[in-house]
Assembly symmetry: C2
Homo-oligomer: 276 residues x 2
């Protein structure tokens, strides 16, 4: 599962500069791209999100074509893989937080083996716990898939039971936000709701696809401020992730539930898109 | 001002693995150590804080001697320098936030030129602004000098006027916390107070030294919950930083003040320790 191949700024290498601002400050962003059959899925969405993130962090925005090229260069047609693509503010020219004028962003791409398939998880659902850690709130970073991921690392360290697939996280003011590596959707009064990403959390690609596709199968979907009681009272709960698609929650911290009809309808709607 | 020399895990190199968890997640900690005359100042305090940080993040804690060795190996007796020392959870063995069992931490050390001396700033004081960005609050990360520093990068991007030395930051719930690269002390009713580091912020080495040394010059000092009105009403305001020592604030977002008697008494007390 470790990286099989890597490129930095278009050159095959497994090393980066010790002065990388990505290393010193987490000063960058990333995407994790599923590539079934060796073809990157939702590549335009991933590239667009990465570029939007650069604009928000005021990192010089790489051309979309340059980013897509880094992904394609690591792929072999027909061979499924996962590509992680990082963009950082670049190699530091000086000590300290201030960015140098004219700093060139770094493009770092890594290829990993395709994850072990887990069709049962999509069909039967997964076990989920509630994290103890609460996410800090910062609107300037909210929604971004940036490289400051210590909170996710610590939340993931809270459990070692391999039967538990994910933990759901709340923010410091008590809002439901997401999993450590997934977004969460609830069905409430027959409608689909997912937490707003305006204080913290990552606005995932699969989350976006679900919000876009829901109307096509007759489901009203919206982003809301949600709390523990919304989670507890939900008729259905599912997780989204760019690699694993839609996974129903069958065990929510001990509360058992079956995959619900809206969850299954959305899975059916997305099946042609997600087919690997 | 860029790094002059670097070592990774005891080997002279300017490269790190593209799989560094420090790069992917900011999963580590750092120290910035002043080395006047080529001798690291407060080395034991820096090493102790780094090891405490590893324990809090459950990173395998490197031996103190191994950390001190990385610093000394970059120094030449008599030649002043700044050494930055990072410890990360190591090189990832797999994709994802979960740490591998038996992961070995990385030790990354860099030497930089000594900063341009600015004795006038210590004597006459510095100009300081108030940051717009508010720091997220997470008690699990509070006080640590960890590698998730995007908030500091963005706060430092808020101004480009070289006459402004620092910005003071508040947290999402409105607490006064620190500068982007310094701690802050206020004099209130003749006593010294500094923000508690229990929700966010870095508990700096110079902050600790000031808290320790204050009683020796007859000053009562404590850590408190402080807000904007405490800052505005303070009789004296100064900043601390391991490289620059104590700097009075002479211009606090347009409010002019002179270096105060307690600030100067503490500068006098610390002068023998900080002499470079």
């Amino acid at each position: 599962m470790s990286a099989e191949d890597a490129r930095v700024d278009g050159i095959a290498t497994d090393r980066v500069s010790v002065l990388e601002r990505g290393l010193h400050y987490g000063d960058g962003l990333f995407e994790t791209i599923a590539c079934p059959h060796g073809v990157p899925r939702f590549l335009e969405l991933h590239v667009a999100r990465l570029r939007e993130g650069c604009e928000r962090l005021r990192i010089e925005t790489p051309a979309a074509a340059a980013l897509a090229r880094e992904v394609h260069a690591l792929l072999t047609p027909g061979v499924r893989a996962v590509v992680k693509l990082l963009v950082t503010r670049g190699v530091a020219q000086q000590r300290g937080y201030a960015a140098s004028a004219g700093a060139r962003p770094s493009r770092i791409a890594l290829r990993y083996a395709w994850p072990v398939p887990a069709a049962a998880a999509a069909r039967e659902g997964v076990r989920v716990r509630l994290a103890t850690l609460r996410l800090g709130e910062n609107p300037l970073l909210a929604g971004l898939k940036h490289l400051n991921r210590l909170e996710q690392v610590l939340a993931r360290e809270e459990w070692h039971d391999p039967d538990i697939a994910e933990a759901l996280l709340f923010s410091s003011s008590g809002r439901l936000i997401s999993g450590t590596m997934s977004n969460v959707f609830l069905v409430r009064d027959g409608r689909l709701v997912t937490p707003r990403m305006d204080l913290c959390g990552v606005a995932g690609i699969m989350r976006r696809v679900v919000l876009q596709e829901a109307p096509a199968c007759g489901i009203i979907a919206s982003e809301e401020v949600l709390r523990l009681e919304d989670l507890q009272g939900a008729q259905e709960v599912f997780l989204t992730n760019a690699l694993t698609g839609i996974r129903p929650v069958r065990d929510l911290a001990g509360m058992m539930r079956s995959p619900g009809p809206l969850t299954q309808r959305l899975q059916g709607q997305l099946a042609p898109i997600l087919h690997d």
